[in-house]
């Protein structure tokens, strides 16, 4: 579902004053070229994270369908005004916020007339999506969020994109080095404010050019320290989590220019599962061992509330104990794991916004699993007449397919059929199918002996005859 990711700057200069500096004009051209690519790509949603939309209480999600205002930037007002009206996809924002809450994060949606959309978001949407051809969704940047919280936000975005099922372009609005010139300069002579910042920017861009997003995410802390990267470069932690935390991308650096001393680049990352990796270049930061030593000093400001999933294991403080965060160095390896929502590529796709399974503690809870064939989504064992209409079903075939799908999901979650504890069976034809169903069921579970409940129902969401709801030991 994720087609591409882009990293873009959020300064208004390329939008409002390209004529004043060749680099600003170049950024404008690159921005517009990327915008045309996005429009041609068939994307159905743009998901945007901007470092200039600060939040403090968890994260905020824009769901006003048509926010409209005239932005006058607090710093760069002399460059002019930016009137805007955007097309926002409220349903995606609501879904994203809900998933964040389910993962133990503070999340709130925003749909207020006059809400001040930040300059970074405004600039990015004006240049990437000038005709509002594609609806957008925007999430805030919590100024206190550290790596784990920001990754959790990214994982939730990934889950939301998968559940929403639309072709999505992911956009990160962030500068690279973020050291402004603090006096008036001749715009024509704008340059990166120090050679060191410039060298760091180029080092990071070399990695992006090779598609090494995860490697950049792992050196983000060093980059932030050495080059005063924008908002600790946490945007890349978010992007890495959204994109799957690996280096299998084709990277392209469209542009790199100074804006009032800061480093501004436009980068494109295209997922490429077949990419040959140069493993000598790989390394791993691990479960943030230097968290305490290299952190911001504000680690106790975690934005996670107490949640039902992996972050409960992370020893971050709970919602009820505002000040009681554990020392950051006590972050466990478990905290580095993705949220324990199980989505299998080898099982039939869910027919609604739910995962295949969730792990809670030592248990796995599976959604209702039917017999549909993974990959094709076809229903096996359907009997049809000459015109193709369904006239019956083979409960033997459907029961086996059902249990095989359950087995696939369990194994993908690290469990197995042998660990099944409880089964709820839904049959659409209890009288006609129960006996044969029971025989097939016994082949699989006869020796395992999970508890079981069998229920007759009028119908199931697709024209299937059987569905299983399973609880297993993890």
């Amino acid at each position: 579902m994720i087609q591409k990711a882009y990293i873009v700057p959020g300064q208004p200069h390329p939008l409002l004053a390209p004529e004043k500096n060749a680099g600003w004009a170049s950024l404008r051209r690159s921005y517009e070229a990327v915008g045309k690519e996005i429009e041609r790509s068939g994307a159905e949603l743009i998901l945007l994270y901007s470092t200039q939309w600060f939040s403090v209480i968890g994260h905020l999600f824009q769901i006003d369908p048509k926010p409209k205002w005239t932005l006058v930037d607090q710093n760069w007002y002399a460059l002019g005004e930016i009137p805007y009206e955007f097309r926002i996809e409220p349903e995606f924002g609501k879904l994203y916020a809900r998933l964040c809450k389910e993962h133990g994060m503070q999340a709130a949606t925003v749909a207020y007339h006059g809400f001040p959309i930040d300059t970074g978001t405004v600039v990015a949407l004006k240049l990437l999506n000038p005709n509002n051809a594609i609806p957008a969704s925007v999430v805030s940047c919590n100024i206190y969020a550290e790596r784990e919280e920001t990754r959790a936000l990214g994982f939730a975005a990934r889950a939301a994109i998968e559940a929403y099922g639309k072709k999505t372009i992911v956009v990160c609005v962030t500068n690279l080095s973020n050291r402004y010139e603090v006096a008036d300069i001749d715009p024509a002579h704008d340059r990166i404010s120090s050679q060191k910042d410039d060298e760091w920017n180029r080092k990071i861009l070399e990695m992006f050019g090779e598609g090494r997003l995860e490697d950049v995410a792992q050196v983000a802390r060093d980059f932030a320290r050495e080059a005063n990267a924008d908002m600790n470069f946490k945007a890349i932690w978010w992007l890495g989590a959204v994109m799957g935390e690996h280096n299998k991308y084709d990277g392209k650096v469209w542009d790199y220019q100074p804006v009032w001393g800061t480093g501004n680049a436009i980068v494109e990352l295209t997922p490429n599962d077949r990419k040959q990796m140069d493993w000598e270049k790989e390394f791993d930061e691990g479960p943030v061992p230097e968290f305490a030593a290299g952190g911001t000093g504000l680690e106790s400001h975690n934005v996670l509330a107490e949640g039902p999933d992996v972050h409960r294991q992370s020893e971050l403080s709970s919602q009820d104990d505002y000040g009681g965060a554990a020392p950051a160095s006590s972050q466990t390896a478990a905290a580095a794991q993705p949220p324990q929502i199980i989505r299998s590529e080898r099982a039939p796709k869910p027919v609604g916004p739910y995962p295949h399974a969730r792990r809670v503690g030592d248990f796995l809870f599976l959604s209702g699993i039917g017999p549909r064939t993974p990959g094709t989504n076809e229903i096996p064992g359907l009997l049809r007449d000459g015109a193709g209409s369904v006239i019956g079903h083979d409960i033997d075939v459907q029961t086996r397919a059902c249990i095989e799908n359950v087995k696939t999901i369990l194994e993908e979650a690290g469990s197995s059929l042998a660990k099944v504890l409880d089964v709820t069976v839904y049959l659409t034809d209890m009288q006609g199918d129960f006996a044969r169903f029971n025989e097939v069921y016994a082949e699989y579970f006869g020796t395992i002996q999970p508890t079981r409940t069998t229920v007759g129902v009028d119908s199931l969401p697709t024209p299937i005859a059987v569905e299983l709801k399973v609880i297993a030991a993890a």
């Binding site: 939040s55 209480i57 968890g58 809400f115 930040d118 402004y180 505002y322």
Partner: protein, 324 residues
């Protein structure tokens, strides 16, 4: 020790300040700006409504308001951390602003309709004085500019009728790029420029430093934002710092206070880093008379105090023993 340190931060020597002939600074107020206190008050201008909340601060503001409005000021000057500028110090430069301020962080609490009159002439005078002292100053002339919520909250709490014009001053971000000390030195200069300009103008001016004190705050919000059972100081060390700062204010030892502010910024993530307090103390000439603490309470864990300095009370004041 503190006096030595103070000299290093560009503080003027005591007793060398110009006496005002007519007009001048008639008061200064540490006037924090959490939108919660406006939300708790339920003015007609603010759309979200509450049951109550943060009364100790609001009542403190009421007493400060009564005291300083009785002195018939011509203008309030407000320095706000939420108008952040990179290049120098900016001033609102349009006679009137009308609009809607929606707090980007607490939009659920603050959606405020404002009508603000600006004393542009005085703002220009301060900008000119600042430039003559080597500061970068700019006038913001766009009438569609949205006035920041820090400015609005502090001004509303001191004068909800909005019948006195204001001068709005941005907070320059230099302490974030360079050092606390460098940032504070600039603010002390800006304070001097402000005082000179006010004295030239003949205005009766009240200064508002729109700062909280300790600034570590919760990152979660109760379901009912005004649930006061959830309100407490974020951490004990922040509280100790706040009390030390208030103690120095109450003793009239603002030079010592200025000297420790950079340390306060680091240890309590204090919002005074934005410079409002240093600016005001400098403009007031680093008062050696006791300040009046009208109220102290926390807002989402941050330390907030409403504190007033009234030069007319100077004659009656003692600099000793305000706190045992």
């Amino acid at each position: 020790m503190h006096q030595t340190a103070a000299a290093g931060f560009g503080l003027p020597e005591a007793g060398k300040l110009t006496r005002m002939s007519k007009g001048g600074i008639i008061g200064g107020v540490l006037a924090p700006h959490p939108p919660h206190i406006v939300y708790g008050e339920n003015p007609w201008r603010n759309e979200p409504k509450s049951e109550c909340g943060w009364e100790v601060l609001r009542w403190g503001y009421e007493r400060a308001r009564k005291h300083f409005l009785a002195k018939k000021p011509d203008v309030f000057l407000v320095h706000s951390p939420h108008w952040q500028t990179v290049i120098g110090h900016h001033f609102l430069g349009v006679p009137e602003f009308h609009g809607l301020s929606v707090d980007p962080i607490f939009p659920n609490l603050f959606r405020y309709t404002y009508d603000i009159k600006v004393d542009v002439e005085l703002a220009e005078l301060i900008a000119e004085e600042g430039r003559s002292m080597g500061l970068i100053t700019k006038m913001m002339r766009n009438p569609n500019f949205r006035v920041d919520y820090g400015t609005i909250v502090s001004c509303h709490m001191m004068n909800p009728e909005w019948d006195v014009p204001i001068v709005g001053i941005s907070s320059n971000n230099s302490p974030y790029y360079f050092s606390n000390e460098m940032g504070q030195a600039q603010m002390i200069q800006l304070g001097e420029a402000t005082r000179r300009a006010i004295e030239k103008s003949g205005r009766r001016a009240v200064l508002l430093a729109s700062n909280t004190l300790s600034h570590r705050h919760f990152t979660t919000e109760p379901e009912i934002p005004e649930d006061m059972s959830r309100e407490h100081v974020y951490e004990h060390s922040g509280y100790l710092w706040d009390m030390q700062v208030l103690d120095l204010m109450r003793r009239g030892r603002t030079r010592e206070l200025a000297a420790i502010l950079p340390e306060f910024m680091d240890h309590a993530v204090s919002e005074v880093k934005a410079g409002s307090l240093a600016w005001m103390l400098s403009a007031l000439g680093f008062p050696e008379y006791p300040a009046e603490v009208y109220g102290y309470w926390t807002v989402i864990g941050t330390g907030n105090a409403v504190v007033g300095w009234d030069p007319e009370l100077k004659a009656d004041a003692t600099t000793q023993g305000a706190v045992a």
